[in-house]
Amino acid sequence: MSENRQTLNRNLAQMLKGGVIMDVTTPEQARIAEESGACAVMALERIPADIRAAGGVSRMSDPKIIKGIQEAVSIPVMAKCRIGHFAEAQILQAIEIDYIDESEVLSPADDVYHIDKTKFEVPFVCGAKNLSEALRRIAEGATMIRTKGEPGTGDVVQAVKHMRMMQSQIRDIVSKSEDELYEAAKQLQAPYDLVKYVHDHGKLPVVNFAAGGVATPADAALMMQLGAEGVFVGSGIFKSGNPRKRATAIVQAVTNYNDPKILAEISEDLGEAMVGINEQEIKLLMAERGK
């Protein structure tokens, strides 16, 4: 991947800012997402809540399903590959996906190495639960970061924890003197130049979204106020009673996350939210995959 390509791929993430990226499994759902104001869709065979319920090994979606969704909408289409599974990523690049999510939601294919994303033309987004993971993924070529949260639970606690951790670590790096940054890079197990970037700019060198457990407009507003630049909503929309209405409300919540009056209006009468699972009730912590 040339430096030029990397910049263009970071630029696409900048265009997604202030937006909501929604998980969809059919062309019909993709159209509902687009009409409700999604800035991109994530094409999947099964949404995280169903992956969790089904158990077993979870893999990249059938390219035919992804292509059907690409044909249905004009907004960017993303898809997931397994952590470390560069062959799945090559297939997604071959069908000209707009963004690949190297995702802990699927079963990892490699328990040591992530994909060398610098070898690809197509952009990658990766999950992170702290600054160390985020900077390592960026060093490997990711051009967008999202919190891992805990996918498929409808419980926002992990996304909050990861976003707070990342923001607090960023503030910590900013406050250090320049000669302390070498040690900070060692502690973070991340490249020095990326640590220096965070120190100088007070932010990651790529866009940072929230993901994993967002189910309501209030959840989305919470994540935005905590510093997210946009949100992914996985199971929260199409596992709820009225997907179109909820999707529209979450899109508005991300734009007006700082206005409680508007948030109150759009939170009214949304029907049933997805059934949540508490962190203590789940056996599989997806966020622990890929560090």
């Binding site: 696409l12 800012k17 202030g18 937006g19 004009s74 707009d98 197509v122 007006n256």
Partner: protein, 190 residues
């Protein structure tokens, strides 16, 4: 003192504000209907997803007031999605947008993200400028009263019609402030 409104519903609005700030121009964000009532000398509609921005313009009841003020002469600058929102005609779509500019536009004209590219080409009165195209549209044709300001690869990528300026690329993503300065000059001349 000049003050520019930046539509901040979704997309790369922060980059435009930063560019204006570097030029010493004051700006503020439009996120809801009440923001629109503030004094402004011009409007910037940023890149992002045009479908998302249009949905929010309608839901937040901003579409009509913005449309009316542009028709009355409010200077406006649209980049990428902003260009699509200002275009009267978009290939394969027949619904209303802001639709104040007499241009016919093709969305995602260079294909998906793999088709995104960077180049440098001439912009009228300015010379060679950086041009970053991200899943960009281009202008297929304009009415005779639309001035073509830039072309690259045989396609129209920047145009002006009186108080309206559009680029299909993203001047806010590079450090070159000359196109923003061009917009500021448009306002001053008015």
């Amino acid at each position: 003192m000049m003050r520019i409104a930046v539509l901040a519903l979704q997309g790369a609005f922060a980059e435009h504000r930063k560019m204006l700030c570097n030029l010493g121009i004051d700006s503020f964000e439009i996120r809801q209907r009440s923001d629109w009532d503030e004094h402004k000398d011009g409007l910037i509609i940023p890149g992002g997803e045009s479908t998302t921005q249009l949905k929010l313009l309608k839901d937040l009841e901003l579409l009509k007031p913005i449309q009316e003020d542009i028709r009355k002469g409010l200077p406006v600058f649209g980049t990428c999605a902003g260009l699509i929102l200002l275009a009267k005609d978009v290939e394969g779509e027949d619904f209303e947008r802001i639709s104040t500019m007499d241009i016919h536009v093709k969305r995602n004209a260079y294909g998906r993200q793999m088709g995104s590219f960077y180049t440098e080409d001439n912009f009228q009165e300015i010379g060679k400028v950086p041009m970053t195209f991200i899943r960009a549209p281009y202008i297929m044709r304009g009415e005779p009263h639309v001035d073509i300001l830039a072309e690259t690869g045989g396609h129209i990528v920047a145009a002006q019609q009186g108080n309206q300026l559009v680029t299909s690329f993203h001047p806010e993503l590079n450090d070159d402030p000359r196109i923003h300065q061009y917009f500021i000059n448009m306002i001053t001349k008015q």
